[in-house]
């Protein structure tokens, strides 16, 4: 019996050693769950400026963003007013590929193919994929360390999309240890670090932490895009009809 107990203890010890990555896996999942649980607002309207800096030339774009959640689904519309009038519509549903449309300056509306999600969004350093909702269950997480981002102690979590068709091979997300906010994301394509998103100037609006400045910078330093929220209104009434392809075409 004792022998049997010793074997059981040994198995338990081996099992503990074996599952230690699983424990960190659980920790990563727990951290990301807390991150995911931070309120983001049922709906919002944002006035935004996008600066695209490439080869020393800065392009300024301005747009109004509308977004509304229904359950876990979210629909977002971005209406560009400067320099040209264009529109971008995103439908996100859990378990489904994000649907996106672009309204060109001539008035035509085009559906964006799913593999075009890795293409630059409005000629910036953001990709089309970056403006769609991310669902926590679509990714595998692993806690790979801790690091400070601009003086904020953060968990460093590796995130890999489950299944095929991922835009990025992996991302490394920096989550604040105290507030569970996202402060930085490193994006990798084919295992190579290609760009970094930095979220700064967090402000609390109706208990919704909001990063007013998002900077997506190429890893080689050759250009970046800055997205700045000039004003935002949360939990406002947005008519569902405004967030349809038919409304985009009008």
């Amino acid at each position: 019996m004792k022998t049997a107990n010793r074997i059981l203890i040994s198995i338990a010890a081996i099992a503990t050693l074996t599952v230690s990555p699983l424990i960190s896996q659980e920790s990563a999942d727990a951290i990301m769950k807390k991150n995911d649980g931070i309120p983001s607002g049922q709906s919002f309207k944002r006035e935004m400026t996008l600066l695209v800096i490439k080869q020393g030339v800065t392009e300024k774009k301005e747009f109004t963003g509308f977004s509304k959640k229904q359950g876990r689904s979210r629909r977002s519309l971005m209406q560009f007013t400067h320099p040209t009038e264009m529109g971008f519509l995103v439908w996100d549903n859990p378990g489904e590929e994000s649907q996106q449309w672009i309204k060109l300056s001539g008035g035509r509306v085009r559906r964006i193919a799913s593999t075009d999600k890795g293409k630059p969004w409005m000629n910036s350093h953001f990709y089309n994929d970056d403006v769609s909702e991310k669902y926590i269950e679509d990714y595998k997480y692993e806690l790979i360390g801790g690091e400070s981002v601009n003086g904020t102690p953060c968990y460093k979590i590796r995130s890999v999309k489950k299944g095929t068709g991922a835009t990025y091979s992996k991302t490394e997300v920096y989550i604040g240890k105290e507030d569970y906010l996202t402060y930085r994301v490193d994006y990798f394509e084919g295992g190579r670090h290609v760009k970094t998103l930095t979220l700064t100037r967090y402000e609390n609006i109706l208990n919704i932490p909001t990063a007013r400045m998002l900077t997506m910078e190429r890893a080689d330093g050759k250009g970046k895009s800055v997205l700045y929220i000039k004003s935002i209104r949360y939990n406002i009434s947005i008519d569902d009809r405004e967030l349809t392809r038919e409304a985009l075409a009008k």
Partner: protein, 495 residues
């Protein structure tokens, strides 16, 4: 304490403009707070700058300098109800073959200024799209202005739009088949943007959106042909010298002659279902394609062949759909009409009858009339991302047919395959494209080649160079373009 005050105030506020206000409340006197409420936008800007400048950056550091530069660019633009956009463009076309004036090569200079003023209020939006053209051809100078759009729109549950407007129906990239409400502009042979491919028309449009679907009703008075220029396709190369003399063809397409007194109505519905964007429509109005009646008329010098466009009322039903499958974006457009009018074919017997009437003393004789037939047209297209972010190939095929074509002139714009490949370089500053249109009508197909290079200086200035080259062979359709071989250069400044 100050932090605590800020947090408390933040929780009670609803917008980030008010957040700025709350911070002012924490730091400044009540008088300033009142001012902030009156002008929250201004305060938001002030505080954004104040916050940024308070960040821990040495004043002369490059990072601080960069941040200052960025923030000056991010500075709040003044919110205006009135907005003015547009561009100024200069262009030159150099012909590579005989043009319609018999010149071996022609050289045209042009200037164009487009203004797009817009006014928005809570209840409505007013918008205009106005072009001023100045063209200097080898033989003539021309000044004109066009109002492509001039409308007001508004509404809440029921959207309304009235005035001169473009409908932009359809999903095709090259051949528009399901857009009978707009006036097709054929002056730019290879225009890709809808604002170059279509002229606006005076119309009233009502749209009701429910869920992901919309239904749209539209009405427009029709006072001029649905294509510009009106006589584009009508050419009778086979009728020149006759026993009664040389025939001079002419079109009744002066402003007064091509006036139409009619109206068009359309109903269109559609939306998005399981990833498929689709629309169905029914149209009743003057036919959007060209058909002609032709009359021989005796003159002192010979015979005139006068061709008069027919714009009889027709019924059209149509469908368009778009669907994305992985890297492939697919599109379909199709229409059917039970009563589209075609021009009768001029056969030897008709020529003989008409000539005998003229020789017998009649001043005129009808040579060709229009006749109604079953008609269909469809186009299928796709684009596929071949490489990188922008290396894309576009392909589109269109066909148009009358069900019985034995005694009528076949639809000229049919059986055309269009291919285009494009890519961008240097962060989308340099855009290159090359394409071909092949008319697959007989063994000796005519084709066209196009190429274009555009450089975007990213400061509003773009420079474009391109060329068209047509190889018509024995194809009647491509022969319409054979004097249009050219190289063009454009410089455009957008504001």
């Amino acid at each position: 304490m100050i932090i605590a005050l800020c947090k408390k105030d933040i929780r009670s506020d609803t917008t980030d403009n008010n957040i700025s206000t709350s911070r002012i409340r924490a730091f400044t006197a009540p008088g300033i707070f009142k001012q902030a409420v009156v002008a929250p936008l201004l305060v938001a800007t002030m505080i954004s700058f104040a916050d940024l400048h308070a960040q821990q950056q040495p004043e002369d550091s490059p990072a601080r300098q960069e941040q200052d530069d960025l923030m000056s660019l991010l500075k709040e633009s003044p919110k205006n109800s009135f907005d003015l956009k547009g561009f100024a463009e200069i262009s030159s076309d150099t012909g590579l073959s005989d043009n319609e004036y018999g010149e071996q090569s022609f050289y045209n200079m042009g200037a164009r200024t487009k203004f797009r003023p817009a006014y928005s209020s809570q209840k409505f939006k007013a918008y205009a799209d106005i072009d001023f053209f100045a063209k200097s051809y080898s033989h003539v100078k021309e000044y004109s202005f066009e109002t492509s759009e001039f409308y007001i729109e508004g509404g809440n549950s029921l959207l309304w739009k009235t005035g001169k407007q473009r409908f932009n129906w359809g999903v095709a990239d090259i051949f528009s088949i399901v857009n009978p409400m707009d006036q097709i502009d054929l002056r730019e042979s290879f225009a890709r943007d809808n604002d170059e491919k279509f002229c606006g028309v005076y119309a009233l449009r009502l749209t009701y959106i429910k869920g992901d679907y919309a239904i749209e009703a539209a009405a427009r008075p029709v006072t001029e042909p649905l294509m510009r220029p009106a006589g584009f396709y009508a050419i009778h190369a086979d009728l020149q010298d006759t026993p009664a003399g040389t025939v001079t063809p002419g079109y009744k397409d002066s402003d007064a002659e091509r006036k139409i007194k009619n109206a068009a109505f359309a109903l269109r519905g559609g939306g998005t279902t399981s990833g498929l964007d689709w629309h169905l429509f029914v149209y009743s109005g003057p036919q959007p394609r060209s058909a002609y009646s032709s009359t021989l008329e005796r003159t002192d010098t010979g015979l005139n062949l006068t061709m008069e466009p027919i714009f009889d009322r027709v019924t059209i039903i149509g469908v368009d759909a778009a669907f994305a499958m992985g890297k492939l974006n697919t599109r379909f457009e199709g229409i059917y009409s039970p009563d589209m009018v075609a021009s009768e074919k001029i056969d030897d017997q008709q020529k003989t009858v008409a000539m005998s009437q003229i020789m017998g003393g009649s001043d005129s004789a009808l040579l060709q009339d229009g006749t109604s037939r079953n008609y269909y047209s469809y186009g299928v297209g796709a684009d596929y991302n071949l490489w990188g972010n922008y290396g894309t190939v576009y392909c589109e095929w269109m066909q148009a047919r009358f069900v019985d074509e034995s005694d009528i002139e076949k639809e000229l714009q049919s059986d055309i395959l269009a291919l285009r490949i494009e890519d961008s370089f240097f962060s989308q500053a340099l855009n290159l494209s090359a394409g071909s249109m092949i008319r697959i009508d007989n063994m000796s197909a005519g084709y066209a080649l196009t190429t274009e290079a555009e450089y975007d200086f990213k400061n509003g200035l773009t420079a474009t160079a391109g060329a068209y080259y047509f190889v018509p062979n024995s194809d009647t359709y491509m022969q319409l373009f054979e004097d249009m071989n050219m190289i063009y250069l454009r410089m455009r400044f957008s504001f």
